[in-house]
Amino acid sequence: MLVKLMIASLLTCFCVTPAISQTVMNFRSVKVELPTEERMFPGGDKAAAINGNCLACHSASMVLNQPPLTRAVWSAEVHKMVSAYKAPVSPQDVDAIIAYLVQTNGKP
């Protein structure tokens, strides 16, 4: 909660550099609960590899909301997850993940 002590000073211009104002902070500790995600990639067995490797860091929607992408771009995305973000993807699953992405949201 914040108490405005000098309203007058707040009414002056907040232009080029920060303007001096007088406000007193009473910081409240915060405790929240972030919603959890249960949605998985659809497609049953065909989605097993992507469900097994691609849900640790982000929701499936990060992938499902992407526009249709070429095989080359999907392949680069999967390899970027491994090299840049250290995704623990089983090497034998890489092809199945790319195949799923190309089949469900690919473009020529």
Binding site: V16, S29, E33
Partner: protein, 406 residues
């Protein structure tokens, strides 16, 4: 076009490109918004599931990516905290912060390392400023051809009044040593995998000490929502949000240029005017993204809306200059053939949104396109043809809105 159903305001206006409408079918628990993303997918759920947040467009649950429904920008020059967009990279986000125990550390190339409580922060000289916070990738979903990344519409931006302290004052308390090159900022969020790159951003030492960069402890007059960075957030006026590190708890003065992933590899733009390259171009030099460019949006009309032919119609919206103020906003009611100056609203500071309004009249019946264009105080004008780059950053093409005169 406002109807109320299920307690939610059902109007969505997408400034400019394409249509936005709300689809809702009976028996569907969550309403859906359609973003005009060519090639799809366009549907996004609206959610009220996040703490300290009202109805938001759900781009991603974990880690949260929440977009501000465009109607919010028609409601005022400041974006309310509970509708302000949310963007995290890694999903290890503390769900509780003890205001008494929290400490901000200042270390590295300094004479005296500091560990500052919120009480200590409040004791520094206080500053306040209005500034637009916009994601580097705002409007990425509108890029043509499309590119991978968070598929935002135009709602990954907001304007708030930030209250806090000058970063310079905090650095001066620690005493920056000669030889300091950059200052690196880290927040309390963390990667899921231990060896993955923690999210950190750096600014040049002179920029950090320019007296404008600040550490905010309040946003629109109250402490920040946790998802917008409680208890402290870096404010870098005129620069993209990637630098506005949330839950800031560590400042390290470096004697070198920061070469970690989020500076060296990610958030880089082509070193070309307005970050523009042609689709397919390769081999261009890249630099870290930095200053924002000018933008403007119509907020009171939706794509495909009917207006009366031959009668004056009120048009209003928001504009911002990017790294400086708004000089002028022009509106065209004939697809850019002729332009007329809009009337600018009150000036809350050069880094904030500026409201504008205008009256247009379309004489002939049929479809017509209304366009809005901002010129900033440095003379930079929004480009008629949208800029493009492979990472989907810095979009600021002139927005156009098709209307039907009847």
């Amino acid at each position: 076009m406002v109807t109320t159903q299920g307690g939610l305001r059902r109007r969505t206006v997408l400034g400019g490109v394409g249509a936005a409408c709300l689809a809702s079918s009976l028996g569907q628990a969550e309403p859906t918004v359609m973003l005009p993303l060519g090639g799809g997918p366009e549907a996004r759920r609206l959610t009220t599931a996040f703490p300290e947040k009202g109805s938001m467009i759900l781009q991603r649950m974990r880690p949260p990516l929440l977009e501000t429904p465009f109607e919010v920008f028609d409601q005022g020059v400041f974006t309310p905290n509970d509708r302000f967009f949310v963007r995290w990279h890694w999903s290890v986000i503390p769900e509780s912060v003890d205001a008494g125990a929290f400490r901000l550390s200042v270390r590295g190339q300094v004479n005296k390392a500091l560990s500052l409580s919120l009480h200590d922060m409040a004791a520094f000289s206080q500053v306040e400023l209005a500034a637009v916070n916009q994601c580097s990738g705002n409007s990425r979903g509108l890029f043509m051809p499309r590119v991978p990344g968070a598929q935002w519409g135009n709602g990954a931006m907001g304007n708030a009044r930030w209250t806090g302290v000058r970063l310079r004052d905090v650095l001066d308390r620690a005493g920056v040593k000669a030889g300091a090159v950059q200052v690196r900022f880290n927040g309390m969020d963390a990667p899921v995998v231990p060896d993955a790159p923690d999210f950190m951003k750096s600014l040049g030492i002179d920029h950090a000490r320019d007296g404008e960069v600040m550490i905010a402890y309040a946003m629109n007059g109250t402490q920040l929502p946790l998802l917008n960075g409680f208890p402290l957030r870096l404010i870098v006026p005129g620069w993209y949000s990637t630098y506005w590190v949330k839950m800031l708890n560590d400042i390290e003065v470096l004697d070198r240029v920061d070469d970690q992933y989020w500076m060296k590899t990610a958030y880089r733009i082509p070193d070309t005017p307005n970050g523009r390259v042609k689709p397919g171009d390769t081999g261009f030099k890249t630099v870290p993204i930095s200053k924002m460019n000018p933008r403007s949006f119509i907020t009171n009309l939706t794509s495909g809306q009917r207006i009366a032919a031959g009668a004056p119609a009120a048009v209003r919206g928001i504009a911002f200059g990017g790294d400086c103020g708004v000089a002028r906003v022009d509106i065209s009611a004939d697809t850019g053939k002729t332009w007329h100056a809009a009337v600018l609203g009150g000036d809350e500071g050069k880094f904030g949104f500026r409201r504008w309004n205008a009256t247009i009249s379309v004489s002939a019946k049929g479809s017509e396109t209304v366009m809005v264009r901002c010129t900033n105080t440095a003379g930079v004008v929004q480009p008629p043809e949208a800029n493009w780059n492979p990472a989907g950053f810095m979009q600021n093409g002139i927005e156009s809105l098709p209307l039907i005169a009847t």
